[in-house]
Amino acid sequence: MTVMQSIEDVRTILLSYIESSDTPRDALKRAEFKQLYGMVSTLPVQERAAYGRRVNDLRGELEVAIATRESAIEDASVQSIDVTAPWDVNSVPLSLLPTEQGTQHPLTRELENVVDIFTRMGFEAIESRQIDDDFHMFGALNFPENHPARDGYDTFRTEEGFIPPAHTSTMQHRILKDGKAKLEAGGQIAAVSYGRVFRNEDVDATHEHTFYQCEGVFVSESATLGEMLGTLRAFFEEYYGQSLKIKTQPAYFPFVEPGLEFAIEKPAALGGKPGEWLEMLGCGMIHPEVLRAAGIDPIVYRGFAWGGGIERLVMLKYNIEDLRHFESGKLAFLRKFVS
């Protein structure tokens, strides 16, 4: 009997063992298999490598067969249940978990709060998409191809060229297009879009690749930058329940002209002292090209838009030290936010 043939024989024996055994993994412990290893030293040196490869190949094949058999055994052990019954046989009616242990995520709670204020101010709310195309993310917002301003957004891309939006402004073109008829009937466009956005960033206590934004859009025949400042101040005054000082700083975003950063004086509720400022969001008058792209005549209509992060509001409110907690799924964190 040749050496190679003995491998072949062992293979046949073990495969049939695996096929019928309830403990297929024991095949690897069987004497027939172990003795194959023992034979190595009896072989001429030049044959050992080829032999070793064959034994290893066999081991791989057996592992696959064992895994298949194991999952078949496991699968056969699964018993159906009566899914129409309210509880299991010989069991008792079930209860829910203790109410006091339930919590809403602080971010969704704050989003509901923010959206509620804007709704009461007259803004419709639209949820933002989580996957979009270059046109909505950039093109329709006056970011030409290869524009350096695109770099600042650190966007992810998919194989198909889709983009996980880096700002909720990815909804702006849709809001403008949908609102055009209303505008032309003598009305206004007033809407906020909110949701998840993504930036290709390394994560640490103050940086996340996933976060939430709320964006606002207002268009009318007479919108002014002063009205934008008034609207934003009104929002933050309602949100913090006190009157607030505001200040701005010029900024550059291709989809607005002029573009500003908007700051509020740190509210007393957050332990703020006069002269302490909190940068809250970016804003500006909607660029005429953006209006035009949505079929709105920029000679007749003007608008303003803004966008800011939600995490910052929540972190300031509760003194949360690490941005990474939000998407961690840690109950230790989540259960701090009892309603």
Binding site: E74, V78, I81, D82, V83, T84, W87, D88, V89, S91, L94, S95, L96, L97, T99, Q101, G102, Q104, T108, E112, G122, I126, E127, I131, D133, H136, P148, A149, R157, T158, E159, E160, A190, E201, H209, T210, F218, A223, T224, L225, G226, E227, G230, T231, R233, A234, T248, Q249, P250, A251, Y252, E257, P258, M285, P288, R302, G329, L331, A332, R335
Partner: protein, 830 residues
């Protein structure tokens, strides 16, 4: 970007305190990240003259020096002539030099601001007293030169203030330059000064040499024929100028004052040639390049310079020692056929200026910013020069800057211009006339600026304005360096910004008295959250992207996920196909933290590729609600029923009654993939039949892969479908009966293959035929050990609308119901 205020002051008066200036710049130009007081670092440094210098006995490198500080430093040991003794180890110290002396008690500037700054003293070195030290450029934190001490200019006086002489009583502004991406002019100190003048309400006058956009050197004694310049494609370069100088081999240094200015804004002084181009780049924003002209001639005898695209397979050895492969998007400067520089980015090794250089060629040009951006990314070059080029420097700027650099290099090195300026300028751009009105400006801003205020504001930054008094129309022409000004809105921004947006009164827009309702779908989701929180579950948010391992562990196919190609981490490789895998992934870590019995849920979007695209050609998104409930401790009954209990509660909170159906075989559905179909049910809305999702236990392989406690189950339903069902749900009200209700329990013994649901359905069918108000509820489900039958006990509640039911009547009705059940299930009533 670092801005030196002393450098600004060379171009505009600044008479306000630094914090006011910083606030003003912040409000009207750009965010300042930090203000650095440079003077504080150098306040102890004294200019002194080395009077004597001799070797220290017993040392092979130390010298003993006597310094004359003009007696300016107090409390220091002096000899009979009033000189101070300092031991110095630098090889280049000589008598007669002016040097920077750090007296005892001075802080060494390059340790200034450290946790433990180095404070000098008077101490003995090899028995000889040394009072403080003579400083090197590195110790002075000027630039990285430590071969010896810094030798100062020789027209000074002992005891002069180092800070004053080298203008180091300066404040540096660290600028967040991201928001100046569209303002190439502000990347030069002159452009920045123009803004500073205007935002403080002053008119700015561009220096005469810079305002003159012709390349005029007056009479030049040309010795050679100028290089021949061509540009392959005007899109690559709008303008390319070059001039040749004799002399200037890079051995000379630029004036020390210039070196200190370069150093403080973060540029290392190199030599007079490089420093001259850098100094002008920092002043004007226009970078330049210098080539060894004789090396250029060896590559092209008639000095044919061509700006062209990189060629496929073409390689270029850069002066930093790297050899790069060029792409067609790269722009190169070539002599004849050979590339001699990666345009805008870096010179090539083949034409580098070195000790053998006799003639130099200086280039001033502009290049396509998009090409340079791609060059920057491809080859990882992030120099001050390419940073400026990628903002788009204007072509007219090359001429005055080239003229001035020739002037500076001649002054600093004695080099002489020997050629005319060679130029290719294929693409001249027009400056548009922009029309707007005072009314349009004020209407957009919500401001009340007067004609004069607006005109002055624009003129302060050298815009040309022309007001038509009759029509009220304002015609504005921006100077050539303002390539960002195209439309009326740009003018409006300038007026608002330069006067301060904060000077505009905030007011609320007027709007109609129409109510805005919250989105119904949002309200539904809020209700779902409230219900689940009341059911004791915890809402989580998990990432929309997951690792491929999580997909595989859940039994989902990788190819059904949109894949992210440029992710920073493998954890963010794929869009998720459902929410359940993300929930399963947070179970084990929480169990490990000591949480035994809990439920987590998430309302979010999923993006399985199989959903296809919307009419907008973007992927369809699914709004999902998923929950997983787990208990580390063994429980009576299967976990399926716990998950179902919570789902039922969700239904009830929306006024819906869910129906559960067994799944007969494994389905191709990413949401169902982690679930064990034999221990899961499809969920429908009972009233409308709308399909909602799945509830059940997880496959054993999934539970093992996620290390789930064995008592784990969950559900995943489409929240849009829930919404649809809830919208259609109508309250069906039946007037309350005045007569009492009767309850009867019936226990059916059935084969264990009969489902509870069948019994209920049959009972309800029978009840439907009776003109009564009725209800059926479960009481008990019992199966003896190893039995093949089970006992299902239900309670029937009956109420008549018009009478009190008698006992006999009730028995008859219950019998009818039982008969209905028995007929189909062969049940025995026990």
């Amino acid at each position: 970007m670092i801005i030196s205020t002393n450098w600004l002051k060379k171009f505009t008066d600044i008479d306000m305190p630094i914090d006011e200036l910083a606030t003003l710049i912040g409000a009207r130009l750009v965010e300042i990240e930090e203000v650095i007081d440079l003077g504080a670092k150098y306040k102890d440094v004294v200019i002194a003259k080395v009077i004597e210098c001799g070797p220290l006995e017993g040392s092979d490198h130390l010298n003993v020096t006597k310094l004359d500080d003009g007696g300016s430093v107090k409390d220091v040991e002096r000899d009979e002539n009033g000189f101070v003794q300092v031991v110095c180890g630098a090889p280049n110290v000589r008598a007669g030099q002016f040097i920077a002396w750090l007296p005892p008690r001075a802080i060494v500037p390059n340790t200034y601001g450290d946790a433990e700054p180095f404070v000098l003293g008077a101490r003995k070195l090899r028995g000889v007293m040394s009072n403080g030290m003579i400083a090197s450029a590195r110790e002075l934190d000027l630039f990285d030169e430590h071969e010896g001490i810094l030798v100062l200019d020789d027209d000074l006086n002992p005891g002069d203030s180092f800070v004053k002489v080298y203008e180091l009583d300066d404040y540096l502004l660290d600028i967040e330059n991201k928001s100046l991406t569209h303002r190439p002019d502000t990347f030069g100190i002159i452009g920045f000064a123009r803004e500073v003048a205007a935002i403080s309400g002053k008119a700015f006058k561009t220096p005469k040499w810079l305002a003159d956009v012709t390349t005029d050197f007056g009479k030049v004694k040309t010795e050679i024929i100028a290089p021949k310049i061509s540009i392959e494609n005007p899109e690559l370069s709008a303008r390319f100028e070059a001039v040749v100088l004799r002399g200037g081999d890079g051995s000379q240094q630029s004036p020390l004052l210039i070196q200190t200015y370069l150093a403080r804004v973060g540029m290392r002084p190199i030599n007079a040639l490089v420093d001259a181009t850098n100094y002008l780049m920092m002043s004007t924003g226009q970078p330049m390049g210098i080539y060894d002209y004789d090396k250029v001639l060896t590559l092209s005898a008639d000095a044919t310079i061509c700006v062209r695209s990189g060629r496929a397979g073409e390689k270029l050895g850069l002066l930093d020692g790297r050899t790069i492969e060029l792409a067609p998007e790269d722009i190169v400067v070539a002599a004849g056929e050979t590339a001699i520089g990666l345009a805008g980015a870096m010179g090539a090794a083949n034409t580098v200026v070195d000790a053998t250089t006799k003639n130099i060629m200086i280039e001033a040009a502009t290049f396509n910013l998009y090409n340079l951006r791609s060059t920057q990314m491809r080859h990882g070059i992030f120099s001050e020069a390419i940073t400026r080029f990628t903002k788009g420097q204007p072509a007219p700027l090359t001429a005055p800057v080239l003229a001035d650099v020739v002037h500076l290099i001649s002054e600093w090195t004695g080099a002489v211009q020997i050629s005319e300026v060679a130029e290719a300028y294929p693409k001249k751009s027009e400056t548009p006339v922009i029309h707007t009105t005072i009314e349009a400006i004020n209407n957009t801003l919500g401001s009340e600026f007067t004609v004069d205020e607006i005109m002055t504001t624009l003129q302060n930054v050298e815009f040309h304005t022309d007001m038509n008094k009759k029509t009220g129309e304002l015609a504005v022409v921006a100077p050539y360096w303002r390539g960002d000004i195209h439309i009326a809105e740009d003018i409006i921004e300038e007026v608002g910004r330069l006067n301060g947006f904060d000077s505009i009164a905030p007011k609320l827009p007027l709007r109609d008295f129409t109510a805005v309702s919250p989105s119904d779908f949002d309200e539904l989701r809020a209700k779902l959250r409230t219900a689940l929180v009341r059911a004791g579950a915890n809402e989580v948010l998990t990432y929309s992207f997951i690792h491929g391992d999580i997909l595989q562990k859940s039994g989902q196919k990788l190819e059904n996920s949109y894949r992210i190609t440029n992710s920073i981490s493998p954890d963010l490789q794929y869009y998720r196909q459902s929410l359940t895998p993300s929930l399963l992934n947070v179970i084990h870590p929480n169990v490990k933290q000591g949480y035994d019995n809990f439920a987590v849920f998430e309302l979010n979007k999923s993006h399985p590729k199989s959903q296809g695209l919307t009419v907008e050609d973007v992927p369809r998104e699914l709004d999902m609600l998923a929950l997983t409930v787990t208990n580390k401790k063994a429980q009576l009954g299967s976990p399926y029923y716990q998950a179902r209990k919570m789902l039922d509660y969700v239904g009830e909170s929306l006024g819906l009654d869910f129906a559960y159906e067994a799944i007969l075989s494994e389905e191709e559905d990413p949401t169902a993939a982690p679930f064990e179909y034999r221990r899961s049910a499809t969920v429908r809305d009972g009233a409308t039949g709308i399909s909602l999702g799945i509830v059940g236990e997880y496959k054993k392989s999934v539970a093992r892969a996620f290390k789930l406690p064995s008592y784990s189950a969950g559900f995943e339903v489409e929240s849009r479908a829930l919404f649809e069902a809830a919208q259609k749900q109508a309250v069906s009200y039946v007037p309350l009966s005045r007569y009492p209700s009767v309850e009867r329990d019936i226990c059916f013994q059935v084969a264990d293959t009969i489902h509870y649901g069948q019994i209920i359905e049959l009972a309800e069918t029978a009840l439907a035929e009776m003109d009564l108000q009725s209800g059926v509820s479960p009481i008990d489900i019992y199966q003896p050990e190893n039995g093949t039958t089970k006992n299902i006990t239900i309670r029937i509640k009956l109420t008549a609308n018009d009478r009190t039911l008698t006992g006999d009547e009730v028995s008859g009705l219950v019998q009818k119901i039982a008969d209905g059940v028995i007929a189909t299930t062969q049940a025995i009533v026990i």
